[in-house]
Assembly symmetry: C2
Homo-oligomer: 410 residues x 2
């Protein structure tokens, strides 16, 4: 089944349901269970009345994705610590926690601040803070947020954190970030990582909680078998490091890593405790292309839930149409966005302001004013373009969620 | 002179000045002249104390760029109507107006709303509104904003606008958007454009103001001579169209188009009235590469004023370093960002959260915690990632400007 057939089948099915069912207030979201990071002006509107470009998340698909992740990791004896760098949305983080996550991850300090401000309190910051100003802010945050843990990857940084924690009068929770071989962040596995963990353990104002090792490079390896083999192999030095930390008597309750591409593989790494999956809540064209355990062509473990609504602005030239969603609304990541329900056309967003449809053997031709819906190319940077996200069910807006972490990249 | 040498010379010179001069309150910005779209918390701080990634604009360079554009177009007998899609920042729009612009352009309706809300009132929306909701909003805005003019590119759209204007009780100012051959937006030049202008002229609730023709494809043609030849040639059908509109007695006071790459070429197109330049306020790596009239290698008509401050997070692996400014702070546009003042290294931002420096024959090696400054790759989508911009002079923050139009892509 090709990606377009996949998406067309799913969305045609949903469309048929939507048109047959009158919209009613959602029973599943009682006042207590409703995630609170919302405004209410557009609640109840059909998607067809939203100004475009608009970012939408389908709640049925989102909930199914969160449940799939949770049930899979639970069955595999590990946990999920969702990475909120993907959605930057406290409402979704709360849904993840309510469904069993052990905590959340963030990539940047300002994301921690936003998530804490919105009521999340078990937060693992996966990036080291190295500047004095950020270290100070991190320690002030730690005074208020007991569940805040941060990464460290050099001995110098551990000593800086210790000094700042002492100054702020806190004991800071720490995980050692171990490099999976990409040399992007992290200390080398083996002796350097163990020595760093021992230093953290010795420093008076730090408390060692364990380690993380995120192998970003493994997540998009195409084909499940190849991905599984490489992911496990590349995590072996980290597993050996974790084992040495444990054997040397260190407190290593956390061994966090992995992601959406390896969530059903990571439990095979000895000692591994929790998957830092992010993209699984939304999926996207990049992940659809990697293939899954059941289907070599389409990664169908999760459903694409995140879409962009766009409107055709110009249809007067042969073989093409222009829409209102370009690079500022879609990014220029590739594979490009996928037009839901259509075949024989491509969508590109190389222009800042405008999207371009090109027809080869199209299932339909769009006219000026027509609306279409896109599966996003790469969810993380797309979400980072929008201030709000329309949470919809059966094509009606059920909540308008602030993307409160948008632009919080410091 | 290569791009890196260019930027290094300029920024070394400025750095030397900065360290020699004590910071004093800026005499040039009296209370009356100071653009008001600002907050003040970080005013007076040195750039070195800002949390990174931080978006900065050098005021000396920005002011020089605005002056260069204004004096050039004035000398050529035309005007500038700056495109604010680039900066999305009312404070900069006000500087452009104060220095002689005939009005501003915006790409989206919500940008018009933001600019009007911040005190700008001569606004040309260069994109047609086609959905009923946007057309209604545009007409409501027109009730309050006398100087609001909008584009149209089909007869059906002209009739829709006329009906909505009638309903709102306004006369809407209109320009006809003419396609320069890219087939992205606009009506074909010649008879179709003239017929559309005549229809607008006839409709009771519309007032024809002229036409626009923006040739985006001409802006980045490499080499001044080639750019000049092609730009003029490609604008010839639009010029012929404009002439026919004028000859048929239509009110065509506006013939707007062009941009940063053709600002000193566009006056050669007969009838042309004003340049819609956007990027010239900032320049960027993409524009540096096109070459100018004086220098085939570097477009030095304007100075790069927009930079990203970033911090090195990891420097423990040979031949590379990792920073805190990745795709969410720099976009993935190419050419990649340029590290100011350095040679023999490249900067890429393909990872969402992290930038990567790779060394070949480096002028320096960065350590963890070191800060560096980048000339942005492509200014428009980069600005659209940030909520605020630090306006600096001699490396001190003189104003913190809201990018009030950020994310206003509807």
């Amino acid at each position: 089944m090709s990606r377009n057939e996949f998406s067309r089948r799913r969305f045609l099915r949903d469309g048929a349901v939507a048109s047959a069912v009158a919209w009613t207030a959602p029973a599943a979201l009682s006042a207590a269970a409703r995630p609170s990071n919302a405004d209410f002006l557009e609640v109840g509107l059909p998607k067809s009345e939203l100004l475009t470009p608009a970012l939408c998340v389908d709640l049925d698909a989102l909930e199914a994705n969160i449940d799939t992740m949770q049930s899979t990791v639970s069955a595999n004896g590990i946990g999920v610590r969702p990475h909120t760098k993907t959605h930057k949305c406290p409402a979704i983080a709360k849904m993840q926690m309510a469904r069993g996550a052990v905590g959340i991850c963030t990539a940047k300090l300002t994301e921690v601040e936003v998530m804490f401000e919105h009521g999340l309190d078990k937060i693992l910051l996966t990036t080291a803070n190295v500047s004095p100003a950020k270290i100070r802010r991190a320690m002030i945050l730690r005074k208020w947020c007991d569940g805040f843990t941060q990464a460290v990857d050099t001995e110098e940084n551990a000593r800086d954190l210790d000094a700042a924690a002492g100054e702020a009068g806190v004991i800071a929770d720490i995980v050692v970030d171990v490099d999976p071989g990409g040399h992007r962040t992290g200390v080398p596995p083996g002796e350097p990582a163990v020595a760093l963990a021992q230093l953290v353990d010795r420093l008076a104002n730090l408390r060692l909680r364990g380690m993380l090792c995120y192998d970003g490079g493994a997540q998009h390896i195409s084909g499940f078998a190849a991905r599984r083999t490489q992911a496990i192999e590349r995590m072996a030095p980290a597993a050996e490091t974790f084992s040495r930390m444990r054997q040397s008597g260190l407190n290593v309750e956390i061994f966090s890593g992995g992601g959406t591409g390896t969530y059903n593989i990571d439990h095979e790494t000895p000692g591994f405790t929790d998957v830092q999956g992010g993209s699984y809540v939304f999926l996207d064209a990049q992940y659809l292309a990697i293939g899954g355990e059941d289907d070599d062509n389409t990664y169908n473990d999760f459903e694409p839930s995140l879409t962009i609504l766009t409107t055709v602005l110009n249809a007067q030239y042969e073989g093409r149409a222009t829409t209102d969603a370009g690079a500022k609304s879609c990014t220029i990541n590739q594979p490009w966005s996928i037009v839901i329900g259509e075949t024989g056309m491509s969508y590109t967003s190389g222009s800042d302001e405008f999207g371009t449809i090109r027809y080869e053997n199209p299932s339909r031709i769009y006219q000026t004013g027509d609306r279409l819906e896109l599966i996003v190319s790469h969810c993380d940077p797309v979400v980072n373009l929008y201030d709000k996200m329309y949470a919809t069910r059966k094509d009606r807006v059920e909540a308008v969620w602030q993307i409160a972490g948008r632009g919080k990249n410091q």
